[in-house]
Symmetry: C2
Subunit: 249 residues, 2 copies
């Protein structure tokens, strides 16, 4: 190996560790790993990622090897991966972009609630830091997107995860505040928006039908009633009332 070749090799292996490789694909992987991780599934398996990203496990496996080489994840073959601090940073930046964009599209441009997700999914990878700042400023540095999800701040700190439970885990008579809904299913979003249901409202489970039947739920302090199917109830997150035990008793 000539001296030149040696120097080139050194540059190349250096790059493996430090250079920022930030294609949309890489960002999507980091984001997906982050989400799966924060659901408690750590380490994250190849299959879980493949399913979430709609990509074959073979392709995911190859990509994970690359991300590992780039220092974005720690990978143990056959055992799964978790984000390194660098990878976490990538994920949070993308999530910040995504949620700012959702709020911006809904608020400033009146884009229907159920369409902002798909649009943000693409834009999140291409807006500059400048544009991110301008959007955040325009919105007054918000901390929640239209689904009720928290928005990481400019330093990429995420507010404490609220202590929420899915609506379908509540017992009859329990109630709380509807804080957010998974943003990935636009059918659900359209349905909710058509029925005038948005994060921030109080909800209370009036009746649980057995065998996967719907929940009878009242909104807005009992002023509206609504039957909510099992899948939807599972996606809706609710923070329980403080000291509900006593309140109920």
């Amino acid at each position: 190996m000539s001296i030149q070749e040696y120097a080139e090799e050194r540059v190349r292996s250096e790059r493996v560790r430090s250079e920022q490789v930030r294609s949309p694909a890489v960002e999507d992987y980091c984001k997906a790993i982050f989400v799966l991780q924060s659901r408690g599934e750590a380490p994250v398996s190849t299959n879980a990622l493949a399913q979430r990203l709609q990509i074959t496990p073979g392709s995911v496996s190859a990509m994970l090897k690359k991300l590992d080489g780039d220092g974005l994840i720690a990978r143990v073959p056959y055992r799964g991966v978790r984000l390194t601090p660098a990878g976490r940073r990538v994920a949070l930046e993308v999530i910040r972009h995504h949620r700012l964009l959702e709020l911006f599209l809904a608020e400033t441009l009146q884009m229907p609630w159920d369409r902002v997700h798909a649009e943000a999914e693409v834009l999140e990878h291409v807006i500059s830091e400048d544009l991110e700042r301008l959007i955040a400023a325009k919105l007054g540095d918000p901390t929640r997107d239209p689904h009720g999800d928290p928005i990481p701040n400019a330093e990429l700190e995420l507010p404490e995860r609220e202590n929420s439970r899915s609506l379908d885990s509540l017992e009859e008579g329990e109630g709380g505040v509807f804080v957010r809904v998974s943003d990935s299913d636009s059918e659900m979003l359209r349905y909710l928006s058509e029925h005038g249901i948005a994060p921030g409202e109080r909800v209370k489970v009036e009746e649980r039908q057995p065998f996967g039947g719907p929940l009878l739920v009242s909104f807005a302090e009992g002023r509206r009633e609504q039957a909510i199917g099992g899948q939807l109830a599972h996606a809706m997150r609710v923070t329980l009332d403080e000291g509900r035990e006593e309140a109920q008793a």
Copy 2:
């Protein structure tokens, strides 16, 4: 060849002619060809494109062959290309996106004038038709972007090209309205914006220095004077006063 294979083959060759292949790269080529064409350089040469897109002629040549196969351009080897109606449509859609975005970023988000171009250059390829409509509506269906360039309407019709000349083609004493400036050089844009010069203002050439020296130009009905270098004067477009002959005499 089995019947199945035959059917697949048919689908594949069909695709070659009709399917919309609209990657960012393809859109950039169409846009570049459109711009060069409307400068009168028709047919457009491989080298002109290579230079504009900062890509080697070899790569351009290969891409042009593909675009020809996709029905977006008509190509005569060694002779150059021109857009087909389909290619023109692609170009105009992208240009509409670009100019709407520039105006939107500048107006709604107060992005500095000299940065909107670079941002729009990326976003133009990824915004949905829905978002395009919302932005256009928010801006009141504008017909000019912040550089003074015309914006194609939703039916992709472009207003007549205004009868403008570059500032450096004016004689001493001639004047008109500064209507636009090439948007590709952010240095120029920053410089102009720093000196408070924007499309719509009246300009008059007070003095021409020989041998590529600067022009002495007055703005805003003589209230401000400014020396403008040759390159910049070349990029600035001006519509001459109506009946200026008499006005001067």
